[in-house]
Subunit: 110 residues, 2 copies
């Protein structure tokens, strides 16, 4: 079985449906406990760092993964903190791509 | 006269008072028209870019200025957009440091 973190995001087109709650629940089980799920709408992970540079370094790591996968989260960096929000705008909610990104972020940031 | 963008942020301690509205108004005049002022609380600039990499590159430029000045904004990057929020937590509102940062960001990003 290929884990989510080994999979790649696939191009999605406007009209792609968001995942059903049951699929969200199943994929959620493959992520770290650090992720909060907002219904079938978005995934959130909030991380703490010892300073601004630590938080921005982590954001940069996520940005590089996002470019490689062509699937881009919203990243908010403040002093000692990083907030990652994942959703698929073309679907108006969560798709498998968001969970692949989340799993890749878990693998990268721990 | 030394412009704001040539000045450096000064260390501020808890209890530093935020600026009065008249001072905010005066310093506002030295910034580009791109900044929105939320009372005496915070400064906001929202910028558009052609893609995620462009927005993240601009955020990185701001992050480097923030480290040099030891005064750190909140930065939110999404696909094609960057939101910069400046405030001084130790003062519970805007200080001269926020305007110095804003002027330096104007000088860097245009």
């Amino acid at each position: 079985m290929t884990t989510l973190a080994q999979q790649h995001c696939e191009a999605c087109t406007p009209g792609t449906p968001p995942l059903q709650p049951s699929a969200v629940e199943e994929l959620r089980g493959e992520l770290s406990a650090e992720w909060d799920v907002d219904g079938t709408s978005s995934l959130h992970r909030r991380m703490r760092y010892k300073d601004f540079a630590g938080a921005f370094a982590a954001a940069t790591h996520v940005a590089l993964i996002a470019e490689a996968e062509a699937h881009h989260p919203d990243l908010t960096v403040g002093w000692g903190r990083l907030h990652i929000k994942l959703t698929t705008h073309a679907a108006g909610g969560l798709t498998r791509n968001d969970f692949i990104m989340a799993a890749r972020i878990d693998a990268a940031l721990g």
